[in-house]
């Protein structure tokens, strides 16, 4: 088998803060294949963004301690010097951020912001770079890319801006795109447009995609493989169908049962009790244990490791599989929160 496009091995990221060491990512491993989408879900603060910012060495310099390996086509990016990393960013890995308004420089024309990448990495002339920028804009479905290229970000709508950011990420035809919550700030109908576009890029160009989101629904509609993060750790990892049809970790199960969807009418949701732990002093055992309905003695003392359930499906849980499953049906309405 060939080397995967991106492989993260045992990544840990720690921040030193005045209040203590924040262990934002702990021993995270995952793989992204070409032409596939890795979905990353987890609640706010679970370390999704930090993981991939670390991969691109975009965390504030000096603040973070990073361990582990980030292998792009087998090459460890973490050993690269900062200057060499620049050659990777933008050229080989494109990044799409959450907030389309603030992710674009407000004082520069969008065309120039795209062309800049071409000029920096490909050393293209001004005119050529501009032409490529316009082409990229066209390829993400922006009508009248010529005029749009000469406009400033604030003259574009939110969806349009997000397209610009995508155009920026793909203009040099990277191998990998990391999209960190690309649709959170967008309206439902626009979100559909953007997800469609990312999907299309993956299929048409065979790019590997990492899609970070806190919305299970979003991930479920586009991801091929999914990792579920909790408090900086991967708790479950498998194909999309594994995770969504047959979730094995109580946390994933809890997440799925908390979501109100249009398929269900009024009725009680089954939320996960409590709230995420502080990353400064994580509980000794499983970090989810205090909130886990299925927890057993061992959970509070021992730390679970990722264990394979099927060849494509791993989770980190100490509870015997048979004792874990809770379904909405098993929880009577009217409890949960109280």
């Amino acid at each position: 088998m060939s080397t995967p496009l991106l492989e993260i091995r045992g990544l840990s990221v720690r921040f030193r803060t005045p209040d203590g060491v924040v262990c934002a990512v702990d021993q995270l491993s995952c793989v992204v294949e070409r032409g596939q989408t890795l979905g990353v879900v987890g609640e706010s603060g679970s370390g999704k963004s930090v993981t991939f910012l670390a991969a691109l060495q975009l965390l504030p310099p000096g603040a973070a301690e990073i361990e582990g390996q980030i292998l792009l086509n087998g090459e460890n990016l973490l050993t690269r010097a900062p200057a060499q990393m620049q050659a990777v960013r933008g050229a080989r890995i494109g990044m799409i951020f959450q907030d389309p308004m603030s992710a674009l420089h407000p004082l520069m024309r969008v065309g120039d912001q795209i062309a800049e990448i071409v000029r920096t990495h490909a050393g293209a002339s001004r005119a050529k770079a501009h032409a490529r920028a316009v082409a990229a804009l066209r390829s993400v479905g922006i009508p009248n890319p010529d005029t749009r290229a000469r406009q400033y970000p604030h003259e574009l709508s939110g969806g349009m801006r997000q397209r610009v950011i995508i155009a920026m990420a793909i203009v040099l035809e990277p191998e990998l795109i990391i999209a960190d919550e690309p649709t959170t700030a967008l309206d439902t109908t626009v979100e559909a447009q953007i997800l469609e576009l990312i999907d299309e890029l993956k299929v048409r160009r065979g790019i590997g995609v990492v899609l970070v989101s806190h919305s299970l629904a979003t991930i479920s509609s586009v991801a091929d493989t999914v990792i579920v993060m909790y408090a900086g750790r991967v708790v479950e990892y498998g194909t999309a169908s594994d995770i969504f049809s047959d979730p094995t970790h109580p946390y994933t199960q809890g997440l799925l049962s908390s979501i109100p969807t249009i398929d269900h009418g009024r009725g009680h949701l089954v939320p996960i009790p409590g709230s995420p732990p502080s990353l400064i002093d994580l509980p000794a055992g499983c970090s989810f244990a205090p909130r886990c309905v299925a927890r057993i003695e061992m959970c509070t003392t021992e730390r679970p490791t990722l264990t394979a359930r099927t060849p494509t499906h791993v989770d980190a849980c100490l509870v015997p599989p048979s004792a874990r499953r809770i379904t909405p049906a098993s929880v009577p309405a009217g409890t949960g929160d109280q």
Binding site: T17, P18, D19, V22, S44, G45, Q98, D99, T184, A185, P273, G274, S275, P276, P277, S278, I280, P290, R291, D337, Q338
Partner: protein
């Protein structure tokens, strides 16, 4: 029982706001030094008569035979006149100590008045908006466009020419007048800040919420908006104090401020400006004290800003992007 409670809120319990404020505020050694310096200065200013009686020189006692030469020029520092004498033959050391009184009083009182005016009007303008806002803002603009010095000269001269002062004796020249002049010309700065902050506070949901509850506008202004203005007000006031102190020094330097019989640093420097080539001490000592005092207030202002600004690091929670 509430599960949330039993499971424990795992987010770190923040330190009490006051404790964390002090911790941040005193984190910088410079701020602490500034505080100590000011404390000493305030004590010295309060104890000025005591110091004067210990040294044996009053602030307006003349030692012209000892400390002036045949041309009426002052003599420099010596064992009993640590900072030398001024051109009237007075002890510069004692006058510098007394000068602290003027600077501190002007700094604090003028700022206080400016803050009261600026906050009141800024709050009204920002909260009421509309024509009230337009009028008040324009008024502040005009005040800022006024050639300040000119009016300082005009007002201080006009109020100096009768024994009663002006405004039926409420405004007598000297300290009072200087304070009023400074306050009159610094309130617009405070006004602008308060107005801008109020404008944005007015749009916040919690103000809206108070309105939805049925709270009256006045009470919203007083008890919802005003408390949230405290940190900009405190920070900005701390920065206005040194400005006011300098302003007094400038006015007195230009001969428009405090009468000579009240020792003030600006007045001493005014004298020094004529004599610096022969009497460096006249320039150096009051100047250093002025610099140190202003610097101390600036450092404290900075410290306050850092301590009250949520943006300074020491925050552990991150705001979730909406």
């Amino acid at each position: 029982m509430d599960q949330v409670a039993t499971l424990g809120v795992t987010r770190p319990r923040a330190r009490s706001p006051r404790a964390s404020f002090w911790a941040k505020f005193t984190a910088q050694p410079a701020t602490v030094i500034a505080l100590v310096f000011l404390a000493v200065l305030i004590l010295a200013a309060i104890a000025a008569p005591l110091i004067a009686s210990l040294v044996g020189h009053g602030p307006n006692d003349l030692y012209r035979t000892q400390m002036l030469d045949g041309f009426g020029l002052p003599r420099g520092p010596n064992g009993s006149f640590w900072f030398g004498a001024d051109s009237a033959g007075r002890d510069v050391f004692i006058r510098v100590i007394y000068g602290a009184r003027v600077s501190l009083v002007v700094g604090v009182v003028a700022t206080g008045i400016a803050v009261v005016i600026g906050v009141t009007l800024g709050l009204i303008a920002g909260y009421r908006g509309g024509i009230v806002d337009t009028l008040l803002s324009r008024f502040a603009d005009v005040m800022l466009a006024m050639p300040l010095l000119l009016f300082a000269i005009g007002i201080s001269t006009a109020c100096s020419t009768t024994s009663a002062g002006c405004l039926r004796g409420t405004l007598t020249p000297g300290l009072n007048l200087v304070i009023v002049i400074i306050a009159v010309f610094t309130w617009p700065a405070m006004f602008r800040i308060v107005r801008a902050t109020t404008l944005s506070l007015r749009e916040t949901d919690f103000v809206e919420a108070s309105r939805a509850i049925g709270q009256t506008e006045f009470s919203i202004m007083r008890s919802e908006v005003l408390p949230n203005l405290i940190s900009p007000i405190v920070v900005y006031s701390a920065l206005l104090v040194p400005q006011s102190i300098l302003f007094e020094a400038y006015l007195t330097f230009l001969g428009l401020g405090i009468p000579d019989s009240t020792p003030s640093w600006g007045g001493m420097l005014d004298q020094a400006s004529q004599l610096f080539s022969v009497a460096w001490w006249l320039m150096v000592f009051p100047g250093l004290f002025l610099l140190a005092t202003v610097l101390a207030f600036n450092l404290i202002g900075d410290g306050l800003r850092d301590a009250l600004d949520p943006k300074t690091p020491r925050r552990t929670t991150r705001k979730r992007a909406a």
